[in-house]
């Protein structure tokens, strides 16, 4: 790199090695433990390339051969939402967590932990089924009649498109839920002899009562503002004011600060709060 921004790196000289401390866990009911890995320093790495190098290295800082750290990723360009984890205590995507920036904050180590609001599957992999279950609960889709050729959708203003596009960029990564004080971890363990289907059904019934989180509120906003989606806006508003709905939001506003796609979540929450109030009145007076 020859950019002038790089030749004068802030934070002084780079360390010779990168120490990475990972909170590991071998499985759901297992005790978590910390393991440290050491890599020679290279410029322009991100946390994904660090985890790839740890896998290729095959041993921890003490030189002991250990299984590679399990983590989830796919696109590596912050659009798929897979690689969410806590990096130096902050929830974010691992792909855009640049090592040089992290070392400026703390040259001694980089700390990686799984998200705390979702059950750990293994190491940095968590089970985010609940996020997708919530999308079912709030009917996050446009209920078209069929997939035949019926011409274009309704015309829309640039202004509407711009708002809808912002909301539609939500990649179900879970950052807003991790940061939310009202969104609590629910870990439902599979019972001995319970089928996968029965387990998921039971889990769904439990999580369905809990707070839906900011992302789901914004999805209701998105689909209720779509000209076709608006046709069943009332169904979504019923869910919005139901158990685990918008009334659980404590207005901490953490969600909007951590959203990697910079979705105006609190604006959506405010807009949906007003819609919920109106909807409640209409229900009371049976309008």
């Amino acid at each position: 790199m020859t950019d002038s921004s790089d030749s004068q790196r802030p934070g002084g000289p780079r360390p010779r090695q990168i120490n990475v401390r990972v909170r590991r866990q071998d499985g759901p009911a297992r005790r978590p433990y910390w393991e440290t890995f050491a890599l020679p320093y290279e410029p322009d790495l991100n946390v994904i390339s660090v985890l790839q190098k740890i896998a290729a290295l095959g041993r921890n800082a003490a030189g002991k051969s250990v299984p590679p750290v399990a983590w989830e990723c796919n696109c590596l360009e912050e659009i798929c939402g897979a690689c969410t984890m806590l990096i130096n205590g902050r929830v974010r995507q691992a792909c855009t967590a640049l090592v040089d920036r992290l070392l400026e904050q703390n040259p001694r180590e980089i700390r990686l932990e799984p998200m705390s609001k979702f059950p750990v599957v293994r190491d940095l992999v968590v089970d985010r089924t609940r996020i997708f279950a919530t999308l079912k609960k709030v009917s996050a889709w446009v209920p078209v009649d069929n997939y035949l050729d019926l011409g274009p959708g309704p015309r829309q203003s640039q202004e509407n498109q711009e708002i809808a596009y912002l909301l539609s960029k939500c990649m179900s990564c879970g950052c807003c839920m991790e940061a939310c004080p009202q969104f609590l971890k629910i870990e439902v363990r599979r019972l001995p002899g319970e089928s996968e289907d029965d387990y998921r059904r039971r889990e769904g019934e439990i999580t369905n009562h809990a707070f839906m989180g900011a992302a789901a509120v914004a999805q209701i906003d998105l689909f209720n503002s779509n000209p076709i989606g608006a046709m069943n806006a009332r169904e979504r508003l019923d869910v919005l004011i139901g158990e685990g709905g918008i009334q659980v939001c404590g207005n901490a506003q953490n969600c909007v600060k951590v959203c990697p796609k910079e979705i105006p979540l609190t604006t959506s929450i405010a807009r949906m709060g007003r819609a919920a109030t109106i909807h409640m009145f209409r229900r009371w007076f049976d309008l």
Binding site: N46, S65, C73, W141, Q156
Partner: protein, 658 residues
């Protein structure tokens, strides 16, 4: 519940559109995906989706012209009827996606906005910011979730497809899969199987593709007997951002909105780019291709960037090859509105604002034009018979393929913004054909398939797994073998290909394959064992890698993305008009001879040792005759003139006889 069950492997645009349409037609669908389908690689597609539209029609565009641009862009290597059908469906597909709520950019009057992409002269591309693939994927993901709620679709997310289950007649009866969390292996009975697993870029180590795009699903189907078409045709995208874990795409839409590619005329000019005056900048694409400029097709742009850096020594940096992609002359609000998503990527990963400093980019492996061979049924008018069980059907009865993993639509080079279209189109049209196949076929076959067939398939996969787990610890690390495979493939089989290098690469790949068969796992557990899953996928990369290398080695010509300098057509060098004409005549003679010899699909079949056997198959070019692909290259006019003159008598003859 529905009487037919279809298993779909892959939840990107092709898999989801097939699933959605199959569900609508009344089938039960089991959808297998390595990741939650919302995280599929389709979300990385940036620029847009092509179709003729009311605006371009008034500029002279038509479905035929979209079809023609696609086959010319693909250097005539694709069968024309499926492409013609796709171009005709394109406007309807975009209308459908619009109804499904895709947040397409709008004009001030509220119509869908369109931009221009490479290989065309019309603004044919609808887009949703610079994350069109993500927006299309989400719309389909939402529809499939709707069908999941009604019980028509069942998802197996974090499950991996291990291979098809074929009965004694070679008919597909289902597939084996593994739960990547609990590591449980199961054989799932299904009446038909759709492979929609995307590309194979991970074979090249770093590429613009996602980590799931390792080609293993295609490889397992190919190893079970499916034919693989045009393996050597790998698209190298001209503009990517080099990174240590991934080469991130910088969309063609950056050029579609007016971005310009240049290098300083003075090699490694130390001045910052904005201090280099206009006349000292070499806008090499615009100078060499004045008609298309920065929007020449990808294979041409890639080769020109590669040549400017490697042969002409004009790379912006000395130690690292790259050229400038410059947007700084464009208004910031336009850039934010239309390219925000991709500019954010550059900013986040490079720490530089591309609105004020030109980006540094270099080509990267991006798309597999080749893939599973699939059939189609042609109508008399030269389109497809929709609902034909032959459409998207591989040579294995009951296995269909759609999306990037089929070989059907893009020939030797894919045009920008055609992939989202071909993925959705092939998925949608596969569905009615599958239903016809199931209704015409032997309905009781599923019930009569003995359970021993599935037990045996499960056992074979368990044995493979146990063999991996039992290996001695002294073998190679699979991640390191993969890095080496990526280096070998990138060096030998990307932008420029030489026969000796391809031979050496093949030898090297055989050696790596042998080492991979003895690689050691550092994790021998039976819970979320990613180490094991990676090692198994690595083994399955080799049959595909070998098909790519063998296909490239045997094709002694230049076509689209496949470029061998040794067989390049010579440029017209003469200044004297008579001599130039003579050269152009010779050029056209050679072009015709080459077309007769090489305008054929490469078809690879995997033998029992995993080696590719290659044969060639005629291409249906019955609608648009092949012609030299010059894109208005400076110095190429005389060739075009001679070529036109040669076609005149044929056209006149055709007219008089018709």
């Amino acid at each position: 519940m529905a009487s037919f069950r279809v298993i779909v492997v892959g939840g990107g645009l092709a898999g989801l559109s097939a699933t959605m349409k199959l569900a609508e037609l009344g089938a039960e669908v089991w959808l297998i995906s390595l990741t939650p389908v919302k995280r599929s690689h389709s979300c990385c597609a940036q620029g847009g989706i092509n179709s003729v539209n009311n605006l371009t029609r008034q500029l002279g565009d038509s479905e035929w012209s979209h079809f023609e641009d696609t086959v010319y862009g693909g250097d005539f290597l694709q069968h024309q009827p499926p492409v013609k059908e796709m171009a005709e469906w394109a406007p309807r597909i975009i209308d459908l996606m619009d109804r499904l709520g895709v947040t397409f950019n709008r004009t001030p009057e509220g119509f869908r906005d369109q931009r221009r992409f490479g290989g065309t002269l019309y603004p044919r591309t609808a887009f949703a910011g610079a994350t069109t693939g993500q927006q299309l994927l989400y719309a389909l993901d939402e529809q499939v979730r709707r069908w999941e709620v009604t019980g028509h679709v069942r998802k197996f997310e974090f499950w991996e497809y291990l291979g098809p289950v074929l009965d004694e007649n070679g008919v597909c009866r289902g597939c084996t899969v593994q739960d990547l969390v609990s590591m449980e292996i199961r054989a799932l009975p299904g009446d038909a199987l759709v492979i929609a697993s995307g590309g194979c870029g991970v074979i090249f180590g770093r590429s613009t593709m996602s980590m799931a795009c390792n080609g293993s699903a295609v490889s397992r189907t190919y190893q079970a007997g499916a034919r693989y078409g045009n393996p050597e045709f790998i698209q190298v995208h001209p503009t990517a951002i080099p990174g240590s874990d991934k080469l991130r795409l910088m969309s063609e839409s950056a050029r579609g909105e007016g971005g310009r590619v240049w290098v300083p005329r003075r090699p490694q000019d130390p001045r910052p780019p904005h201090q280099i005056p206009e006349k000292e900048r070499y806008y090499f694409l615009e100078e060499r291709y004045p008609k298309y400029g920065n929007l020449v097709p990808r294979d041409i742009a890639t080769r020109e960037i590669f040549k400017v850096c490697t042969q002409e020594g004009l790379s912006v940096e000395k130690d690292r090859q790259c050229v400038y992609l410059d947007l700084t002359h464009l208004p910031r609000d336009l850039l934010d509105r239309k390219l925000g998503g991709i500019l954010e990527i550059y900013e986040k990963f490079q720490g530089v604002d591309p609105r004020s400093v030109p980006m540094k980019i270099f080509p990267a492996v991006h798309y597999s034009m080749g893939g599973l061979w699939v059939d189609y049924e042609r109508t008399a008018a030269g389109g497809l018979r929709i609902g034909s069980p032959r459409n998207q059907h591989t040579n294995i009865t009951g296995i269909f393929a759609a999306g990037e993993c089929d070989y059907q639509y893009h020939g030797a080079n894919r045009l920008g913004a055609n992939s989202l279209l071909s993925c959705i189109f092939s998925g949608l049209i596969a569905a009615p054909g599958i239903l016809s196949y199931l209704k015409d076929g032997d309905q009781g076959a599923r019930d009569r398939s003995p359970s021993s067939l599935f037990k045996q398939a499960e056992r074979r996969q368990r044995e493979r797994l146990e063999e991996l787990l039992r290996r001695p610890q002294d073998g190679d690390n699979p991640y390191l073998i993969h890095q080496e495979l990526g280096r070998v493939m990138t060096a030998a089989a990307t932008v420029v290909r030489h026969n000796e290098e391809l031979d050496r690469a093949y030898e090297k790949v055989l050696e790596l394959e042998a080492r991979a068969k003895h690689c050691a796992l550092s994790d021998r557990g039976s819970w979320t064992n990613q180490n094991l899953v990676f090692a198994r996928a690595l083994e399955d990369m080799f049959p595909v890698a070998k098909a790519i290398l063998r296909g490239a080695r045997m094709r002694d010509e230049c076509r689209g993305a496949h470029y061998k300098p040794e067989f390049e057509m010579p440029p017209i060098t003469a200044k004297d008009p008579a001599e130039a004409r003579r050269q152009a005549e010779a050029w056209c003679d050679r072009f015709e001879a080459n077309t007769r010899r090489w305008l054929e699909s490469t078809i690879a079949t995997c033998d029992s040792g995993g080696e590719p056997a290659i044969h060639y198959e005629e291409v249906d070019t019955g609608l648009i005759p092949p012609r030299p692909r010059l894109y208005g290259l400076v110095g190429g006019q005389i060739i075009e003139q001679v070529w036109r003159e040669r076609q005149q008598p044929q056209v006149a003859a055709a007219a008089s006889s018709g």
